[in-house]
């Protein structure tokens, strides 16, 4: 017998993690760990990892990443009326945060709630994530449920007067936070969640969102300006009758970003919109952005929209894997999916895989995927009016992104996001 047996990649990964034990979520965590062991870590041969190399996410330790301090612009959502909650390298920073108090909203930290034996989130933690593991496995989400060190448990019973704003600060070059949020909107509740920041050198985040009947959930996220950070995130949502789920993500940097979004439309007349605007400039470092979306229509008259836009240059890579599954009986489903990339040079690459799977006969589903360069006619039109090439490029990029940005309903939030996109374009000319 050899002294050291060779570890599998998963064993090596788990050996580097201090798995939390005990408390209200023990069973859910144990279950997640068992599921993870059964599925193993992903490899390039797995169908849903063909376009994105998971090696850096599989590695036992986070590849080092330098934190990036943006000195040229105010933090996102600054000055907005909000409840600000700050995590530094995944560790909650009470001092930098507002008091977690908001009428109609209960906010607790996972790390604290876990100490109790009973908690409202007990029946939910890991449940939507588990449901989202079929038919496609999502090992990093299972890893997250097993190993998350903190996160927020948010229950919304009324109409929240202002958004809760989560800020993820990255300070340590080797930080490797795993956060898990559970958000439950009771019937008729309304809630807006803002997220921004890179969070760490490597960030694994799962957010389970249970949207009750007639409730409305809005999510606006920006994934930070760090060039070197890596992130794998998962949104697992269940949308009940007449409820609304809307999520928008802006990504302007990062070596690697994999955003998965799994939505289960379980109630009739449910609405779910997921949108993303990603801008990648390979000149600032590698840029690989992956949106992987799976929307299941399991009830009648559901409306879903996926709008993903990517602007890529200097060797940046964008990928999109989006699926609409319409179950038998989900009649009058209206499913729409569009993924588009704008390649600003010949070095960049977009890989798209749109999928439809439909088992009901009275539905309207469409998908489109395009890859293209800037429209030369529009470019000439702008330049003929005296707008220089670079400025015209910026206008046309914003024009290209408009459909995704328009998914943000709140005008002030939309303006805030647009201002960041404009700033990015101004920084990345040429």
């Amino acid at each position: 017998m050899t002294a050291v047996e060779k570890q599998t990649p998963l064993e090596a990964r788990l050996a580097a993690i201090d798995l939390p034990k005990g408390g209200a979520f023990t069973a859910a965590r144990a279950d997640a760990l068992a599921r993870l062991v059964a599925m193993g870590l992903p490899g390039r041969r797995d169908e849903y990892w063909r376009y994105t190399d998971p090696a850096a996410l599989n590695a036992p330790m986070a590849p080092a990443a330098k934190p990036f301090e943006a000195s040229d612009e105010a933090p996102l959502f600054n000055g907005m009326d909000r409840v600000k909650l700050v995590f530094v390298d995944g560790v909650f920073d009470a001092e930098a945060s507002d008091a977690p108090e908001l009428a109609g909203v209960e906010i607790a930290r996972l790390a604290e709630a876990e100490a109790a034996d009973i908690h409202w989130a007990q029946g939910l933690y890991g449940t939507l994530e588990t449901a989202g593991q079929s038919p496609v496995v999502r090992p990093f989400a299972a890893l997250n449920s097993a190993a998350a060190t903190d996160g927020l448990l948010i229950r919304v019973t009324g109409k929240a007067a202002k958004p809760v704003s989560l800020i993820y600060v990255h300070r340590s070059e080797t930080s490797d936070p795993i956060l898990h949020h559970v958000i439950k909107l009771e019937p008729g509740a309304e809630f807006t969640l803002l997220e921004n920041g890179p969070a760490g050198a490597r960030f694994n985040k799962v957010m389970e969102v249970d949207v009750g009947a007639g409730a409305r959930f809005h999510h606006i996220r920006a994934q930070g300006r760090d060039h070197e950070r890596r992130a794998v995130t998962g949104i697992f949502a269940r949308v009940a009758e007449g409820a609304l789920f809307k999520s928008f993500t802006m990504t302007v940097n990062g070596v690697l970003t994999r955003n998965e979004c799994v939505i289960d439309m379980v109630g009739d007349d449910a609405v779910a919109h997921v949108a993303g605007a990603a801008l990648g400039d390979g000149a600032s470092g590698a840029f690989h952005h992956d949106d992987t979306v799976f929307i299941t229509h399991g009830a009648e008259r559901g409306e879903s929209r996926q709008v993903f836009k990517k602007v890529l240059k200097h060797g940046a890579v964008g990928t999109f894997q989006g699926k609409i599954l319409v179950k038998p009986g989900a009649q009058k489903t209206d499913g729409y999916q569009i993924s588009q990339s704008l390649l600003l040079d010949d070095d960049s690459q977009f890989l798209g895989k749109p999928e439809l799977e439909i088992y009901a006969d009275d539905v309207k589903c469409s998908h489109g995927s395009t890859t293209g360069a800037l429209d030369e006619t529009a470019m000439f039109y702008l330049r003929s009016r005296g707008v220089p090439h670079e400025e015209a490029t910026a206008l046309l990029v914003l024009s290209f992104l408009a459909d995704a940005i328009d998914e943000i309903e709140d005008e002030a939030l939309k303006d805030e996001v647009v201002s960041r996109l404009e700033a990015w374009l101004a920084r990345h000319r040429g």
């Binding site: 429209d375 030369e376 006619t377 529009a378 000439f380 039109y381 702008l382 330049r383 003929s384 009016r385 005296g386 707008v387 220089p388 090439h389 400025e391 206008l395 046309l396 914003l398 024009s399 290209f400 992104l401 408009a402 459909d403 940005i405 328009d406």
Partner: protein, 256 residues
């Protein structure tokens, strides 16, 4: 104002010669019209003057107040005072008409070393100019040309012209796709801009636009050349007799 000499142009990616020696001088304050059959090179002339890609100038020159246009980028030509009203104005979804106008006005001011217009001054100016063209606030808010009718698009072109105050305006088939009322409105917009320091080159198939925008000089273009120049009566002659007779006079066949 505008002086075109012996201009020869071919398509960049094909061996097709389109302009075969155009000579044309437009004096300050004058309105010149260019008429001609399809394929005569009229639109190409407007694109080459404004700097569109895809054409290769093989000979000749085009100067605006003595400055060589053909060496400049399109935006430099605009800042130098050239404006092309497009035959098919381009739709730009997601960019508000106001943003577009303001970006253009300020880009040109900046290029000329002038101060940019403040938001307030700009708004006042655009409202005043829009009113005379019957362009309402709603049209100014909408994305550039998106969902505009043919008439609205052309009025929007004239609004841009009014805002940018160019010295040399080229109108490329501005009458195409317009009903009589829309054409009158557009023509009024153009006439309001007529000025002793501003010149116009009006490209059109038909004489009817010239009833509203009265030219000082009319040129007939065919087979890549100006083949005949005259007064407004030349446009009437074309209207009555067609191009065939004039073309035959110059031994040009088979271009109709």
């Amino acid at each position: 104002m505008l002086e075109i000499k012996n201009l020869h142009v071919k398509l960049e990616e094909q061996d097709k010669v389109i302009l075969k020696g155009v000579d044309l001088t437009v004096e300050a304050g004058k309105v010149h019209a260019i008429m001609g059959p399809n394929g005569s090179g009229k639109s190409t002339l407007s694109y080459v003057l404004s700097g569109r890609d895809g054409y290769e100038v093989t000979d000749g020159s085009a100067t605006l107040e003595g400055e060589e246009l053909l060496d400049m980028e399109p935006e430099e030509r605009a800042a130098a005072g050239l404006f092309l009203a497009f035959q098919y104005p381009v739709e730009i979804p997601g960019v508000g008409n106001m943003t577009f106008l303001r970006t253009a006005v300020n880009a040109q001011r900046k290029a000329r070393g002038e101060e940019e217009l403040s938001a307030g001054d700009f708004l006042k100016l655009v409202r005043q100019k829009a009113k005379t063209l019957k362009i309402d606030a709603e049209m100014l808010k909408r994305p550039v040309n998106v969902g505009f009718s043919g008439g609205e698009k052309k009025r929007n072109e004239i609004l841009q012209m009014a805002m940018l105050e160019p010295r040399m305006c080229i109108l490329d088939e501005t009458d195409s796709g317009l009903d009589v009322d829309a054409m009158r409105l557009v023509a009024e917009g153009v006439n309001a801009l007529r000025d002793e320091n501003r010149s116009f080159l009006v490209i059109t198939h038909y004489q009817r636009l010239l009833d509203h925008i009265k030219p000082d000089v009319v040129h007939i273009m065919a087979d890549g050349r100006i083949i005949k120049t005259g007064g407004p009566e030349l446009a009437l002659e074309v209207e009555n007799n067609g191009y065939a007779a004039i073309l035959a006079e110059h031994g040009i066949e088979g271009v109709l």
